[in-house]
Symmetry: C2
Subunit: 175 residues, 2 copies
C-alpha cells in the first residue's frame, strides 16, 4: 500500500524522503496520517529489495538529503501491482484511490479497463451491513437513523462511482 504509493510517486520523478512525505500526506494524509516511523523503514525495505536506490547529496537547505530513484525492478514491481491489484486494493476505498492515483502509469488502456472492471464488479455485488440474529436486514427494516445513514451514504458513493466507471470505461474503449 504505502510501498506502492512510494513507487508510484517516484515513477514521476526522483524525490527525497521529505518531499515524498508531502506527496503521501496530500494523497491519504487527511484520512490517515503517515508517520516517520512508517515511512523511513518502508524506504529501507524497498531499497533492500532493490526497487529503489538512494543517492546522497549535500543538503541544499538543511541536512544531507537522500534522493530516491526508482530502479528498473522498481518500475516492474509498480506495473505488476497496477496490472493485478490485490482484492483488498479493489475493495478498500483508501487503497483503491491509491490504485487510481497511479493507474495512468499503465500504458495499455485494456489493462486499465480490466482494473476498473474489477472495481465495478465489486461495487455491483449486493452487500448487507447488518444482521438481526441470523437474518440479514434490508435497508427498509432499519429504524436506527445512524445505521440508515451508513446505508444511504454507502449507496450514494457506489452510485457515483459506478456512473464514473461506466463513463471512463467507455472513454477507454474509444482510445
Amino acid at each position: 500500500m504505502l510501498k506502492l504509493a512510494i513507487l508510484g510517486f517516484l515513477y514521476d520523478r526522483p524525490l527525497h524522503g521529505y518531499e515524498l512525505r508531502r506527496h503521501l500526506v496530500a494523497l491519504t494524509g487527511h484520512i490517515r496520517p503517515i508517520s516517520d516511523g512508517t515511512l523511513y523503514p518502508a524506504i529501507k525495505r524497498l531499497e533492500a529489495d532493490g526497487l529503489l536506490t538512494r543517492e546522497t547529496e549535500p543538503g541544499t537547505v538543511a541536512a544531507p538529503r537522500h534522493t530516491l530513484h526508482l530502479t528498473p525492478a522498481g518500475r516492474a514491481a509498480l506495473f505488476d501491482w497496477l496490472r493485478a491489484p490485490e482484492d483488498l486494493d479493489i475493495s478498500d476505498e483508501n487503497r483503491w484511490f491509491t490504485v487510481l492515483a497511479f493507474l495512468r502509469h499503465l500504458d495499455a488502456p485494456a489493462d486499465q479497463a480490466a482494473v476498473l472492471r474489477r472495481r465495478l464488479a465489486f461495487l455491483s455485488e449486493p452487500a448487507s451491513f447488518f444482521y438481526e440474529g441470523t437474518r440479514p436486514l434490508r435497508a427498509e427494516d432499519i429504524t436506527d437513523p445512524f445505521r440508515s445513514g451508513v446505508l444511504l451514504v454507502a449507496r450514494a458513493t457506489s452510485q457515483a462511482e459506478i456512473t464514473w466507471l461506466h463513463d471512463t470505461l467507455a472513454l477507454l474503449e474509444t482510445t
Copy 2:
C-alpha cells in the same frame, strides 16, 4: 476499531465468537475480511482487560461455545469511545461507519450530535490530493482521468454525507 465493534455488538446481546464473526463480516467484511487470527486474540485481550467475560456452554450444535458477555467496564469503555472517538475514527470512512453503526447506544442526543458535528467539520475541510512539485493541484488542473475520478467520487461522497449529516442533526435537535 475491531475492539470497539466487538463491544458494540455485545452491547445488544451476548454472542459467541462464531456469531460475532458473522456480524463483523456483515459490517466490514466485504471491505476488509476479518480473520480468526485477528478475532480470537482480540477477544482474549478484551477479556484480559476485564471488558468482557466468557461463559463456556456445552455445544448445542458443535464444539463447546464460549458465550461472550459485556461487563459494566466493557459498557463504560464503549460509551467512552462513542462519546469521544479518535481522530482516525472520524476521518477514515471504514472506522467512521463503525462509529455510526453503534452511535445509537449513546442515550444523549446532544452527545450523538457532537460526534456528527466532528465528522461534518472534517468533511468541510478543503483537501488537496495531488501536488505538482510543491504546488497543490486544483481539480480543474488535473488531466489524468483516473485522478479526476478520485476527486469526483470523493466529492460526491462528501456531498451526500454532508446533506445526511445536516438532516440528521436537525432531527436530533427536535428530540
